[in-house]
């Protein structure tokens, strides 16, 4: 078979794939995509797990290491069998959060942190690069098998393949910006390729078993006799490889792409759970037979990695060989296409866009078409990734067995696993924990697996391999911490994942998550409770128009307008500008996340809405059942506390009433006492006078005087009572007019001047020349009361009363200070109350209402009267009315 014919077939095959992809995209656009969305297509698209490494490499692997190759399929089988545990959650999270890549998932979970996104992206690029190189190598080698001049022009072939794949990927992978809109064309092309590679491998297998070996029975004999039978399974490698492939199946960017991002209906998982393991089962069924026959019939120096091609060629089955070639070609191309789409999305969303956004302060609202930037950055990323793969291929010299390179890539991507498992099962996982785990794992992987893959004397010198960097034996790349003798792969997987998980857990435990992280953590871990929406927006000052302008640049004009119109309609509004509700912001963020990733979408909306993050109320909203119950019970508590308060208020009111009633009783009994006491004397003496004949005229005179005095006392008491009642009820009419303070004082002193109660009064006339606007008679009443009190109570031998007028804090005050012993402290407290009197009743002569009336009068006038406890004698201060004083 000529090389030209091969090239022609190859070209036709690629053109056919183009046609199918194009047709599928057209169907999808026309809305006739129902069968494109079937569980069968989903299952077949998962087959990109089986790359050229699997197609060619598995046979080589089996020829070298026996059954160990099958671990690479058993891991994914176990993951699919356990879909109810893990994949179901992952797919639901991916769909509800509009996740665009594994980096997006991790970054979204850890508070939409872009640092984590960048880390995972870096890991993905570094891990995918050798993988792409591997595909280029296998395609190149398979071409070379048919070449007339073997071993020549390999790099050119690889370059052509890489360029062609880049073109196909850019054409079909970046047509649609919204990753969630799914790549129908690409997916259908992959499904076709999946069928081709399965059919090809089965065909070669059946040819080998039934034609070359003569049936399953004799096939077993051939295997038993071959060197494969001498390869026993090494338990530690066996276990580690199953675990590793299971992790890689979940974490590989391309697997995440087809499994989660391109998933149309989560129930497709149920079908894939058995169909995909079946696919893997069939893919591996004939691997050992082909390897055994190849080892049997081909010369020793033949490359076992190419047995799938060389065995049919050996027996001149050109058509079968061509089919096998197409199978290998399919495996390589489908892997490269999907991996390029997945990784370029990550690079664009987590590296290029954030940089672009930060360079344009003021952000997406200003100008420019974000869509074109996103598309361009994705196309450049695809080209860049394939270029990197090509360079890796050239510089690694196509060295190393295919399987070895594949396992290195697996180990690299598996570093995401602890953070991923933490993301969906552990609410306590924090961004710092995730970053620490991934960084540590990535570093250990680079040192113990990736860099050594270039061989001793490659990037790491032989001396470092032997003695460690700077002679530190503990850090030898393949014997970390001095533990020697482990298989290099087991060694790398063990240390990288162990230290990764340790760092992840430890740092998570020691650091605190942000509110957004806690929110996302709760949403992710409880995805089956909160899958409807993930609250995150508390509204804000964003204008609907600004949002529309920005969304148009990302979602496209018509799509954005449709979204806004439908939202406005659902809010019951006309036109295309809905209210900016938190629900709408969440929806918009999800839609935008489908185009530019969660972190970027969040950041862009933050710029517009003013960056209000998550409030405590939002956290409560997503809190779990226990928290809701807690909330309910705290409401009950609040209610009962309110009831308690009401009861307290009632209690207080009741106490006040009781106190009032007691006061009233006390007041009445006081009045009774005050009235009855003079009446007793009056009645008694009048009876004496009425009957008494045996008394002197002096006695008669004296008793009449007592009756008279007591009658006056009664009258005064009644006057005072009436006065106080009027004052307290506010019924008093004030007769205000302009008057001088000294005049009022003169009147008061004149009224109190009685010979029995003489007291020397000292005044300061210049200070008293103050104009007032007030009720002078009432003020004089107060002064009289105070002066006569001094006269009654001052117990000095030469009683003196000092009247001082001065300013204090802007108020004019009049102090009445005598030279007696003052009022005892216990009396001070109550003396302004009604019927409170000093100890000496008889001297008082009044009913104990004087000071109470003084205080009421001063309050009516707008002033006050207080007692000054810190003076030598009794000291009363009258604070004069303020406003009226100024008005005068």
């Amino acid at each position: 078979m000529s090389f030209d014919l091969l090239a022609l077939v190859c070209a036709s095959y690629v053109i056919g794939l183009f046609a199918i992809a194009f047709w599928a995209d057209k169907r999808a656009e026309a809305g006739q995509s129902s069968w494109l969305n079937s569980p069968l297509i989903y299952t077949l698209s998962l087959s990109i797990y089986c790359t050229a490494w699997t197609f060619y490499g598995a046979v080589g692997y089996a020829a070298r290491s026996g059954m160990e190759f099958v671990t690479i399929y058993l891991g994914p089988t176990l993951v699919m069998v356990g879909w109810w545990l893990l994949l179901r959650r992952l797919v639901r999270i991916g769909r509800t959060q509009r996740i665009t890549s594994i980096a997006d998932l991790i970054s979204s979970r850890y508070g939409k942190s872009n640092l984590i996104g960048v880390l995972v992206t870096l890991l993905a690029v570094v891990g995918t690069m050798p993988y792409i190189a591997l595909q280029l190598q296998s395609v190149t080698l398979s071409f070379d098998v048919f070449s007339a001049n073997p071993g020549e022009g390999l790099n050119q072939t690889a370059f052509v393949v890489a360029a062609g794949l880049a073109a196909f990927t850019i054409l079909f992978g970046t047509r649609n910006l919204d990753m969630n809109a799914r790549h129908h064309g690409v997916v259908i092309a992959i499904a076709v390729e999946a069928v081709v590679k399965l059919v090809a491998l089965l065909a070669v297998g059946i040819f080998v078993v039934f034609i070359l070996a003569g049936g399953p029975g004799s096939m077993m004999d051939v295997i038993s006799a071959s060197p494969i039978a001498e390869q026993s399974i090494r338990p530690e490698r066996w276990t580690v490889l199953i675990a590793l492939s299971a992790m890689a199946f979940i974490c590989l960017p391309r697997m995440f792409q087809v499994m989660v991002v391109e998933n149309y209906d989560e129930r497709h998982l149920a079908t894939a759970s058995w169909a995909f393991p079946l696919y893997l089962f069939l893919m591996s069924l004939f691997v050992v037979p082909i390897a055994a026959i190849g080892l049997n019939v081909l010369p020793d120096e033949a490359n076992p990695d190419l047995f799938v091609l060389t065995v049919p060629l050996e027996f001149d089955r050109d058509a079968l060989a061509l089919l096998a070639f197409l199978g290998g070609f399919s495996s390589a191309t489908s892997m490269v296409i999907v991996a390029a789409i997945a990784v370029s999305t990550m690079v664009s969303n987590h590296v290029v866009m954030p940089i672009w956004l930060s360079q344009r302060q003021g952000g997406a609202t200003v100008s420019g078409d974000v869509r074109s930037v996103v598309t361009l950055s994705r196309r450049l990323s695809i080209a860049g990734l394939l270029a990197l793969g090509y360079l890796y291929y050239v510089f690694s010299g196509g060295g190393g067995a295919l399987a070895a390179i594949g396992l290195i890539a697996f180990t690299g991507m598996a570093q995401v696993m602890p953070a991923l498992v933490g993301a969906i099962f552990w609410r306590g996982a924090t961004r710092y924990g995730a970053a620490a785990g991934i960084t540590v794992g990535f570093t250990v992987w680079l040192w113990s697996s990736f860099l050594p893959s270039f061989g001793a004397g490659g990037i790491i010198s032989a001396d470092v391999f032997e003695n460690g960097p700077f002679g530190i034996g503990m850090l030898r790349p393949q014997a970390l911490f001095g533990i020697d003798g482990l298989d290099p792969l087991v060694h790398a997987v063990f240390w990288s994942l162990l230290l990764n998980t340790f760092a992840f857990c430890l740092v998570s435990l020691l650091t605190l998550p942000t509110p957004l992280e806690r929110l996302q953590g709760a949403t992710f871990v409880n995805v089956f409770r909160y899958s409807e929406n993930a609250p995150g927006w508390t509204g804000g000052a964003a204008e609907a128009e600004d949002l529309l302008m920005m969304s148009q640049r990302i979602l496209g004009g018509r799509e954005a307008q449709d979204l806004f119109i439908s939202e406005a309609q659902s809010q019951g509004k006309e036109g295309y500008l809905p209210d900016v509700t938190p629900a709408f912001l969440e929806r918009l963020e999800r839609e935008m996340a489908g185009s530019v990733g969660g972190a970027t979408a969040h950041a862009m909306l933050m710029q517009i809405t003013g960056g209000e993050a998550v409030s405590v109320e939002d956290l409560i909203k997503v809190a779990d059942e226990a928290q809701q119950i807690l909330e309910y019970s705290s409401q009950l508590e609040a209610k009962s506390a309110e009831l308690g308060r009401t009861a307290d208020q009632l209690q207080q009111a009741n106490e006040k009433l009781v106190a009032l009633s007691v006061q009233k009783d006390g007041f009445l009994s006081q009045i009774s006492h005050e009235l009855r006491t003079p009446m007793t004397s009056i009645r008694s003496f009048s009876e004496i006078l009425m009957q008494g004949e045996n008394m002197s005229s002096g006695e008669r005179q004296r008793y009449s005087q007592i009756i008279h005095d007591e009658a006056i006392r009664l009258t005064r008491l009644l006057d005072d009572l009436l006065d106080l009642s009027v004052l307290e009820n506010g019924q008093v009419t004030l007769n205000e007019r302009s008057e001088m303070l000294d005049a009022i004082l003169d009147r008061a002193i004149a009224a109190t001047a009685t010979p029995e109660q003489y007291i020397e009064i000292q005044r300061e006339p210049p200070m008293e020349a103050v104009p007032l606007f007030t009720d002078g008679d009432r003020l004089a009443q107060v002064f009289i009361n105070l002066i006569s009190n001094a006269g009654k109570y001052c117990d000095a031998e030469e009683p003196k009363l000092q009247i001082e007028v001065h300013m204090l804090d802007g108020r004019r005050v009049v102090d009445f200070i005598d030279n007696g012993t003052g009022v005892p402290p216990d009396v001070q407290k109550v003396m302004f109350e009604k019927f409170a009197r000093g100890t000496d009743h008889r001297a008082a002569g009044g009913a104990g209402l004087g000071l109470a009336i003084c205080r009421e009068v001063m309050k009516r006038l707008g002033g006050d009267v207080i007692y000054l406890p810190d003076r030598e004698g009794s000291a009363f201060r009258v604070v004069l009315p303020e406003a009226r004083q100024a008005a005068a």
């Binding site: 006492h673 009855r676 006491t677 003079p678 004397s681 008694s684 005095d709 008889r842």
Partner: protein, 122 residues
């Protein structure tokens, strides 16, 4: 016949004068005391045949004094006539419960007080 002694514990001078006038005419010896605090001692000193006790006294209430008198052996049986200007029912009840022999509300008639005193000592 020995002179009969009345101790009048009251603080209103005019009322003291009136009661002294009424009782001394009837042949009673009237001692007076006007402070609440030292009233019980005064009773012990004077050993009166009858005590006339006002309720509203300076420093100490008549009820407290009555309570003390009834609690001590030597004064336990001395008749006590209580006078009050607060004529409420509960005041009367309180006085009776504490052991007052009689309870009179001010203002009283001269004949009424004289008869009561005679009755209590006779």
């Amino acid at each position: 016949m020995e002179e009969r002694k009345v101790l009048l514990i009251e603080d209103e001078p005019n009322i003291i004068e009136a009661i002294r006038f009424i009782l001394s005419r009837d042949g009673w010896r009237v001692d007076t005391h006007s402070d609440g605090k030292s009233a019980v001692e005064a009773v012990r000193e004077r050993a009166p045949d009858l005590i006339i006790l006002d309720v509203m006294l300076p420093n100490r209430s008549g009820y407290d004094i009555l309570n003390d008198l009834r609690g001590a052996e030597e004064t336990h049986d001395v008749p006590v006539l209580m006078l009050t200007a607060r004529g409420q029912t509960k005041d009367r009840e309180l006085a009776e419960r504490l052991g007052a022999s009689r309870f009179m509300t001010k203002p009283f008639s001269n004949r009424e007080i004289l008869e009561t005193v005679r009755e209590l000592v006779g």
